[in-house]
Symmetry: C2
């Protein structure tokens, strides 16, 4: 089994990755697709006159502030992307089925609650944020779909303890799903060729990273958004996944390319 | 089993109907919820500066013209509503799972293709319409969710022969699903107390309508949007459903109210 996280970033076409999924499914492999949605959510936010607001935490991290309206926009945008991916897979002969982490309580998360931010040099607390970190995964719904011969396509939304939908990180959602399904492989597609020892020099790609060096890579190698992907890789391996591949979404057959060794393989 | 179609019209709260679904599920009944989305789609269309365009067919019927952008808006709006219903059911202890008719090719439809309309007294043909009429239902995905103990919540989207998502009528989607699942009952909630012999006089409600009188009711009694609901009732009974109840969504416990005989029962 392969769990593959495809990007939500702009410029990453779904056609090539869906075509690659279709090849694997035709060859008898079970595949679970997890997607993002940030680019479409940003676009929709602008379209409805409610553009995203990025805030900087006290510890210096930048993130999208997800108030109630931004959450609604995220639910709409990921709803569209999920259905576009399912339709494209159906076009290619894959009997896909869309879902999100709230269905069957697949992903349960702890709401972050108060966001401590710095704005114009002043500290503030934002209390109505709807993001969360995944606590538990119930694979019942995913397994029911897989057992029925379907290919699940999952949007990164989780259910809070108070039963509110929450925006959760797609990479870490894919990692936790791969762990819960005891998937052999997790692939995280991104807009670089893998983990780069000297970002942004693409020739400095690390081809194989032993799991024992993950902690060091997290501290000293990964930068920016790659940090979250390496963290997701660590969580997946801790959860029982045998191999995590970080590889390039921008090439023609991105999954085949990653499986052929053209990425960073972590095990 | 009960398949219940809840409205997409404004002013119909999801809380009361979800609370009623929760009571039935707690009592051991299998329930499938089918929803609309037209009001939210209209709202979102206005929010993004692309309001719906209603056209009048050559035969005099008014309908929403669904071009590619309107379809995207419909996919987004129904995505939001679907997740709001699932979250509300989860809050009430029902392990719900959202889906649409494209998942697992549950609903396959024939795209209407050219719309022949009259505008400003002139005849026109609109070719890029993404609406369809349901041809076949594959209950595999629904059954897999039901077998896993989940309560499916279905958005009225079908897959065309060319694998495009299509906007389909929610009442008729519910009817075809009820038939395919061999559901005992189909309930269609609406904003009147049932089929009225003298619309809009609510005291003229028909309490029991024999199936043999459906054709006559369709021709001579049902008006406006109620015509589609009576047509859906006919399709459901033709498909093997034992009883169809048309009843009022505006009351406190709309499903219990309808099951207690306060609607129009057709069998």
């Amino acid at each position: 089994m392969l769990v593959v996280k495809i990007g939500g970033a702009e410029g990453i076409g779904i056609e090539s990755v869906c075509s690659d999924v279709a090849k694997l499914v035709a060859a008898g492999e079970q595949v679970v697709v997890v997607h993002g949605g940030s680019a479409l959510a940003t676009q929709l936010g602008e379209d409805v006159g409610y553009p995203p607001r990025f805030v900087t935490s006290v510890s210096g991290h930048s993130s999208r502030y997800t108030d109630k309206r931004t959450l609604e926009i995220f639910l709409m945008a990921t709803g569209l992307l999920n259905r576009q991916i399912v339709a494209e897979l159906q076009r290619l002969g894959v009997n896909a089925a869309g879902m999100s982490g709230i269905d069957g309580k697949t992903l349960q998360a702890k709401r972050k609650g108060a966001l401590r931010i710095v704005e114009n040099g002043k500290r503030k607390i934002l209390r109505d944020d709807y993001t969360g970190s995944i606590q538990t995964v119930d694979p019942t719904t995913l397994q029911a779909l897989l057992d029925a011969g379907l290919t699940p396509v999952v949007a990164p939304i989780a259910l809070s303890e108070a039963h509110d939908p929450l925006n959760v990180d797609g990479d870490r959602a894919a990692a936790s799903i791969a762990g819960a399904l005891k998937s052999q492989d997790l692939m995280i597609l991104t807009n670089v060729p893998g983990l780069l020892r000297a970002f942004p020099d693409e020739s400095s790609r690390i081809v194989n990273l032993p799991a024992s060096e993950l902690e060091d890579a997290l501290e000293n190698v990964a930068q920016g958004r790659m940090k979250r992907k390496v963290l997701a890789a660590k969580e997946a391996l801790d959860g029982g996944v045998q191999r995590v591949i970080l590889c390039d979404a921008r090439v023609d057959a991105p999954i085949s390319n990653g499986l052929a060794g053209n990425g960073t393989s972590i095990q």
